[in-house]
Symmetry: C2
Subunit: 342 residues, 2 copies
């Protein structure tokens, strides 16, 4: 900006005025400055600007894994809201590693982003308290904060799970298996709770052998997949066999579908399928046979709502931490309506 000022023979401040479109610069001067700018290929340094004005026009988003369609949809929705507010977006994946969440979140704080959206991996968010105190708005997505008083936008995990189980029971099932993620994860825990609640509400006892949950830690999904074959074998052919399955998220539903297909391939025939309802909708749910009945959340709404709330806070909203719960929707496609074997 100094160079531009020198070349245009004006003061630095005048250049600043022109660059920012401030009024009070006569047309002739303006032209000279503009010429100098284009001759020098000058472009305002926005980080310097932000340092001065104290607003970054950047927010950060931390998810479990942008590569997962669920989170990439969340990300896309957040992006749109950010763009509408002329904000750039930092993104990062934590892989359910608390240390990585912490590191990324603090790095974003050190960058002085204007706000943070977090799908948390850790079980303690006290480390963000001082940032919150100094005015950083933070909105949690999909899972609530622990030891931290701030906004969260969640799905109705318990209600969704209950509707899935109720649907299977209505189709005549009494022995229903639950294949879910590590219950250390909030959503997985809540869905398992919903499963148990709905079974109990119908007076049905749950045999613990019907419940297959993942192990904790990053990389657990891969390990889960490796052990799924045996689990499914127990669930479908073992002494405590079930007639229906409720799968706890999109990835697990996919894994189960793949295993069922492999069983068919091994048998050289299409084996009778257990009824299946999955938590989370996915793009091909209607294109496999039978179509997969799911409890759909709206990941775009999750991201959109959280980002909108963040910008409300940024605009000065000061009410106490809000917890928004988004409804789920049962989408009937065939797999959940299969009756139990006679």
């Amino acid at each position: 900006m100094n160079d531009v000022a020198a070349r245009a023979q004006v003061s630095l401040k005048t250049v600043s005025r022109v660059v920012n479109g401030d009024a009070g610069v006569v047309e002739g001067t303006r032209r000279r400055v503009l010429d100098a700018i284009s001759q020098l290929g000058f472009r305002r340094n926005d980080s310097a600007r932000q340092l001065r004005i104290g607003r970054a026009a950047e927010i950060g988003l931390l998810v479990e894994d942008v590569g997962d369609p669920f989170y990439s949809t969340v990300t896309r929705a957040v992006e749109r809201v950010a763009a509408a507010n002329d904000c750039l977006l930092f993104t990062g994946s934590c892989d359910d590693d608390p240390e990585r969440e912490r590191k990324l979140a603090l790095a974003l704080c050190a960058r002085r982003v204007d706000g943070l959206l977090i799908v948390p991996a850790s079980a303690d968010h006290a480390y963000l308290a001082s940032e919150l105190d100094s005015g950083l708005p933070v909105v949690f997505i999909d899972r609530p904060p622990v030891n931290l008083d701030t906004d969260a936008v969640l799905a109705d995990n318990v209600g969704g799970a209950r509707s899935a189980v109720a649907h299977l029971i209505a189709a005549g099932h009494r022995r229903i298996g639950f294949v879910g993620d590590d219950p250390d994860i909030y959503t997985a825990r809540r869905r398992l709770l919903g499963f148990r609640q709905e079974m109990a509400a119908h007076g049905l006892d749950v045999d613990e052998a019907w419940i297959a949950v993942g192990e904790p830690g990053a990389g657990r999904l891969r390990r889960h997949a490796e052990r799924l074959r045996d689990k499914l074998e127990q669930l479908l052919d073992g002494p405590a066999a079930v007639t229906a399955l409720f799968t706890g998220n999109n990835r697990i539903t996919t894994q189960v579908l793949r295993e069922l297909a492999l069983r068919d391939a091994d048998a050289g025939a299409v084996l009778p399928r257990p009824a299946l309802v999955g938590f989370d909708d996915f793009e091909f749910a209607d294109l496999v046979t039978p179509g997969v009945t799911v409890v759909a959340q709206d990941p775009a709404a999750l991201g959109r709502t959280a980002a909108a709330l963040l910008f409300e806070r940024l605009a000065g909203l000061t009410e106490p931490a809000r917890q928004v719960v988004l409804p789920t929707r049962l989408v009937v496609r065939g797999s959940g309506e299969l009756p139990p074997p006679a």
Copy 2:
């Protein structure tokens, strides 16, 4: 930092030394500073730091749409490389809108990011020339730069398309339809070229009625989907009917599969399927019936390679702009091996 210095009764510079772990601070002083830091909840302002040292430790990534599994996989791969280099990552989706690409790219430049990775939407990248001149490393992904001399990491679109068509011809097909995206898009154009080349190499004339390409502009995919039904009807039942289809990317393959399923539903029966090979692999390709034979690219490798190249440039690599072409791989699953009707 000033506040910390005051509280610890040392100079600002000593605080800086402690914060950065510089040698030359006696243990007692260090303790005092550390205490002051934790009492005040101080955290170094990295944007101010970056302004001073001239390195942002941030890079930017622009894709067409993070919500698309192809690009979200690219994004995830870039993220990993960025994290390995202690860099934060800005992401943005351009929706194939040149204006949006330009705006986002320039906003990132104004933030003085250390480098840029771009899946371009525009057809002219001269606007980045001055940034390049002032030393900003830029690597294009998936589509090459136009009017700009910089690195690019691409897939072998022509070769991949040719392998798909060759595969269909080997299965006995002579009349093959091409359903692709807007040929204004580099990848779509190259894949159509590969289609034509391979047909020609086998001495097969291409009836232009066999070629269905999308319209230009953002939102074209939705419009494409709406018109796909009629196009497919012409392609499969019209006077110039084909016996096989080559679909130009993951989204179009999905749309075609959905339309074929709808035709079955309308007919109340499983109609005979045309053979089908799709460009791009996707998660459910093996779970639909029949399994979808695809020409698989490796989106993770695309992102990883591009990011690695960017960091090589950042580390000082000065050789001329490099163009890396990644191979594709034909994955046989059933749909591409269906023979033509007798």
